[in-house]
Each structure stands twice: as C-alpha cells, then as structure tokens.
C-alpha cells in the first residue's frame, strides 16, 4: 500500500522538474519517513492514551528524562553505522564508566577530575575497539561482541554485581548534579538539553564538516575512500572513540539520575541503539543515514515504548511492538531506496 503510493507519487511528480527534484531529495533523505511516522505516532498516542495522558506534563517530563539515555548512545552508534561498523560493546562501556565514576566518587576525587577520567574510560574502550576492528580487519560485530562480554565480565567481577549508592559521597546540590540531572526552569530535565547538544554537535559535524564526508565515504565505499587518500582506519577509530565517550557520558548521567551504580546498566542498549539507527533510516551496510534521522529514530522507538504503556499494553510485551516497528522500517527503507533509485 505504502510502496504503491510513493511509487505513484514520484512518477506523477516527474512531469514537473522542480517538484521531482524536491520529491527525490525529500525521499532520498530517509528522515522524511521517520518524521512522518513520528508525527503520526505523536498524534495517535495523544488521542488514544487514556485521558490524553501522553501529552501530560508528567509524561513529557519523564520522557525527556529517559529518552537521552538511549538517545545519546544511539547518536554515536548510528554515526558509527554510517561509517560501516557496529559497536555492541556500548552495553558494557556504560556500566563500566558508571562503575569507575562511582569508585572515584567514593575515593573523594575532585568532581572535575572524575568527569575527565570517566569520559577517558569511554574514550579508551572506544579506542581499543576501533584499533581491534581496523587492525584485525574482522567484522566489527564479532569484535565488539567479544569486547562487550569482556568488559561486562570485568564490571560484574569488580562490582560483585551489587548496586552501589552514590548519595553519601555527593551533595544533592553539587554542581555536577545540577549540570547533568537538574531541571531548567523547574520543568525541562537538563539531560534532554545535553541530548539536544550532542544532536546539534554531531549533526553539524556529520552533515557539514569534511570529517562527516569522510564518515559517509568510508561506510559507502571504503576502497574509493582509501584511493582518494582518506585514512579510513583513522575515521573509524575516531568514531569508536566518540561512541565510547558518549557511552561514558550516558553511564554517568544515568548513574546520577538513579543515584547509584547498577551492574545491569546498559543491558540491551547495544541492539536498541542499532534499532534506533535503523528506524531513523540508517543502512546496516554503511554509507546511508543521517544524524537527524537517528535522532528521530531513537525518539520514535521511545515514544512507541512509552505510548503503548500509557495505552495499557502489557509492559513486558512492548518488545513485540518494537520488534515489529524495526522490521517495518527496515522494509520501508529498502522500498524507498528502490523507488527513488529508478
């Protein structure tokens, strides 16, 4: 049905040049479809959630507080997917950074130093992932599956899997709490502002900076990129480092939000981040995707989650819907590529 509509539309639009150009552009930015679905879902949940609670202040605040968790990680993972690689180890970088953060707090390290070391943890894990992938030339899916299990094992062993509360070591009104988990105007969770900040920075870099072009080319045709003198190994490694840093940042703010380290932080994030990217129009083969798309993709996944619960869907069955959504979007992406390709 949907395929027929789009196909028909482009064919009809072909008669006028500017319209065709616009349509082709519009469709070639796969964001368009995610945007349409996103808006449709917003309206749908707004109308059908009991008492329109989806748009209630309480729910929106909760969404804005929770969405950055997956969102920040997805931005990085999606960018890496554009470069043609996966990172499953995000699921373990998160708790590991959180653990390091907690331990440093416990030792009374200055907060600024804690921030630096925590982010450095992610950078080092990212760097090691990147180097392993580019040096061994093995599929990153396998390599990072290995590092995911490795680091999670380390975290479990080091923490003995028990949660560690942090509130005895940090004042509730310390600058770190305000900067990372406070509220702006008592309404907007500051995490969401950070999410928007990373979205803006990565968006500008990936879409407009020359490094962004290198990311696309590396994912789309690595041989061509090499032939044109682009150091694709460097590009990939830098992307892995960015993903690592984003994960530690997220592990840290999640830690501050739940006020403790939890060994199961980040479980399942590796695949949900990939799902967000796919829903946002990112290709699993690399070279296709966009940061705005990934941004919308991760929000879409999370409002499906949130909206269905508000509508009374069984909480433990939510994955069924998300799974369905991923398949629909994957099919949609291929269809769009076929229609616009002709």
């Amino acid at each position: 049905m949907f395929q027929w509509e789009t196909g028909n539309k482009t064919r009809r639009e072909r008669s006028t040049l500017s319209n065709e150009k616009f349509m082709v552009r519009f469709l070639s930015y796969r964001v368009s479809f995610t945007l349409i679905v996103f808006v449709v879902l917003l309206v749908f949940f707004g109308i059908f959630s009991s008492g329109h609670s989806f748009f209630g202040i309480a729910n929106l605040t909760a969404l804005a507080k929770l969405a950055p968790d997956l969102g920040i990680v997805s931005l990085g993972v999606g960018m890496l997917m554009i470069a043609g690689e996966f990172d499953l180890s995000v699921a373990s970088t998160i708790p590991l950074s959180s653990f390091v953060f907690t331990k440093l707090l416990g030792w009374g390290t200055p907060l600024a130093l804690i921030l630096v070391i925590t982010l450095l943890t992610g950078a080092i894990i990212g760097m090691s992932n990147g180097l392993l992938v580019v040096k061994t030339k093995l599929p990153s899916f396998i390599i990072t599956l290995g590092t995911m299990l490795f680091w999670r094992g380390i975290v479990y062993a080091a923490s003995r899997m028990s949660p560690i509360g942090i509130m005895s070591w940090i004042e509730p009104d310390a600058w770190m709490m305000k900067v990372f988990v406070g509220f702006i105007g008592g309404m907007v969770p500051v995490q969401f502002v950070w999410f928007l900040f990373f979205f803006a920075v990565l968006g500008v870099v990936v879409q407009l900076h020359r490094f962004g072009n290198w990311i696309y080319v590396t994912g789309d045709n690595q041989i061509a990129a090499r032939a044109m003198g682009i150091d694709t190994d460097m590009v990939k490694t830098v992307c892995y480092v960015i993903v690592g840093v984003l994960c530690s940042f997220m592990g840290m703010i999640q830690n501050l939000r739940i006020e403790s380290f939890a060994a199961n932080q980040g479980v399942g994030f590796e695949l949900r981040a990939i799902a967000s990217a796919v829903v946002g129009g990112t290709s699993l083969m690399g070279g296709i995707g966009s940061i705005p798309g990934i941004f919308l993709g991760t929000l879409t996944i999370q409002i499906i989650d949130n909206g269905l619960i508000l509508m009374g869907a069984p909480a433990f069955g939510i994955n069924a819907f998300i799974g369905g959504a991923i398949i629909i979007f994957a099919v949609l992406n291929v269809t769009v590529a076929r229609v616009t390709g002709k």
């Binding site: 150009k21 082709v24 552009r25 070639s28 500008v204 407009l208 900076h209 020359r210 490094f211 072009n213 290198w214 696309y216 080319v217 789309d220 045709n221 041989i223 061509a224 990129a225 090499r226 032939a227 044109m228 003198g229 682009i230 290709s283 070279g287 296709i288 616009t340 390709g341």
Partner: protein, 312 residues
C-alpha cells in the same frame, strides 16, 4: 628503432650472437638484466636514454615534451613463486593515450598498481618527467599527478556528485567545515567541461548511468590537475553508447594535455582512441607499437596467440 624488435632479443636467441649485439651494436641503448628465466634484454629508445643521461644536470633545460612523462624501466614483479612481470619497459609520453591491452592475468593491473604505488616492484626503476621516483604508496603517486580510476572503486554511490568529486579534498570555509556552494559549482564546472550533462550536483551517484559515473570520476581527476590518468577497464560493463561516451572523455583529457593509460581487453575500444598500444601476455611485453605501424587484425592475432613472433 630498427633493432627495436622484441622477437630478436628474446631469451631464446642464441647467446653468443645476442651478447655480440648487446656489446657492439646496441651498446648504450640496452639494459641487461637478470630474471628467473635467465638474461633478458631491454632495448630502450635512444632519445629517452639521452634524456636520462642529462638527468640531474640539465633536466630543466630539456623541453618537457622530449622527456617521456613516465618511463618504467625493467620492471620485475613476483607474487610468491609467480613471476607476474618480467623486465617490462613501459613509456608514456605527454598528452598521449596509450592502450594497455592484454588478456586476463597478463599483468596489466600489476603494472599499473606498481605505477600507482599499490605494489612495490621487485626490480626496476620509474622515471617521472625524467626524474627517478620511488612510488612507495598511492599518496606519492597522487602527489606526482598520477591518478587511477577504477570503475567500481572510484565513487561512493549514496553520496552526492559534488561530495564525490571532492572526496578527501573537500574545500573548507572555517574549522574544516565544507564550502558546499563552491563544491557544487566547481564540480558542475568540471563535469560540464568534460562534455557531460548533469543538472543537479546534489544528486546521488547511484542515480547516474555507468557512463556518467565514469564521467564524474574522470572530471574529478581532471579538476585536480592530474598529469597522467590511468583508466582501468572503464568500458567493461557499459552499453555501446556509454562506452562511446567514455572514449570521448579520453579525447577530452588528451585535449587538456593529460596523458591517459587505457587498460582494456577490448582491442576495438582501444583502437578507437589510443595512439600507441602496449600489449602484455603472461607478464611479458608482446609489442609496443604506434597505431600507424600496425593494424587491428595484427593486434588481435597477437593477443589471441600470446606470442610476439607472428608475422603479420
């Protein structure tokens, strides 16, 4: 040039007579090198040797047109126990289209990969504009002005034409942010100059035909002032009309004063545009001949038989 007949000086030739020829007749014009099959003689053109002799002292004074753009001397390449190239002498002059022809596995790509820095040669020397060069990686080849266009490897399909043209060499405004206006206008300019008509620099390469893609890749090397463009099988998967378009691009490059090495195993395509043919078989040179000194039938015969002794 009369002695420049490969058959005469092949390894099978009686040794005494050969040595006599080497030391008494050809003397300076001969390289005498060893490979796995014994001795092999490599006859050089007199003119290029002269240029060589002057090297370092008066290269500047020699008009560039007299010095070949590229001269590969006595190139040997081994892959394990396979002797991929045996004593190859390959020359490209300024503004010349050379057809590098041979069957699969003849050593065409190996020779070009040595020239473009992907493989090191096991023996031999490369001169670029009369100066000896050591092309140990692709970047050095690029810096010299040697650009290789591989059909499937040249472009990223899901990225705009403008971004493809400037891939790896993006013009920037500040802090490394791309000057997209300039990229659009300049890439369109280069493509138009080549005689290709594309309206939208933001269109994805995926939407172009095979011939147009070649055009974009060729426009790119032209824009970045290549001196020598190597086209590796540019017509292999193209329709008749598109192939013709690509052949026209080559003429355009020549008109710009850019030399072209046209690698193909389609002798009919090569014969349309090339001024000289260099034919390889099993790692050895069969013939290096100007277009006016040969016929297409003779070349076909050579390629099919894989021997150079055939009398035409």
């Amino acid at each position: 040039m009369s002695l420049y007949k490969p058959g005469l000086l092949r390894p099978g030739f009686p040794l005494l007579i050969r040595d006599f020829l080497v030391y008494n007749v050809l003397s300076e014009n001969v390289h005498y090198g060893r490979n796995a099959y014994g001795y092999q003689l490599c006859v050089e053109k007199k003119m290029s040797d002269k240029a060589d002799a002057k090297e370092g002292t008066s290269t500047e004074k020699t008009p560039l047109a007299q010095v070949p753009l590229v001269r590969m001397v006595d190139i040997d390449k081994w892959f394990g126990k396979v002797n991929a190239l045996r004593g190859i002498n390959f020359t490209v002059n300024h503004g010349e289209i050379v057809g590098l022809v041979g069957d699969n596995g003849a050593g065409k790509s190996t020779l070009i990969k040595i020239l473009s820095g992907f493989h090191p040669a096991d023996r031999g020397e490369i001169y670029f504009e009369g100066k000896k060069v050591n092309i140990s990686n692709p970047k050095l080849a690029k810096n010299l002005g040697i650009e290789t266009v591989y059909q499937e490897q040249a472009l990223a399909p899901h990225i705009s034409i403008a971004r493809n043209v400037f891939m790896g060499r993006e013009p920037t405004k500040f802090l490394g942010f791309m000057d997209r206006g300039m990229m659009d206008s300049e890439s369109m300019g280069a493509i138009t100059k080549l005689g290709l008509r594309i309206k939208d620099p933001e269109a994805m390469v995926e939407m172009l035909s095979g011939g147009q893609r070649q055009g974009v890749a060729i426009a790119r090397v032209m824009y970045f002032k290549a001196k020598l463009v190597v086209l590796d099988e540019p017509t292999i998967a193209l329709s008749v009309k598109e192939s013709q378009q690509v052949l026209d691009f080559m003429q355009q490059l020549k008109a710009e004063g850019i030399s072209v090495i046209f690698i193909t195993h389609n002798i009919f395509h090569a014969f349309q545009v090339a001024e000289r043919f260099f034919i390889l078989a099993r790692g050895e040179m069969l013939i290096d001949v100007r277009k006016e000194d040969t016929t297409i039938d003779h070349l076909i015969e050579l390629i099919v038989s894989g021997r150079s002794e055939i009398k035409s």
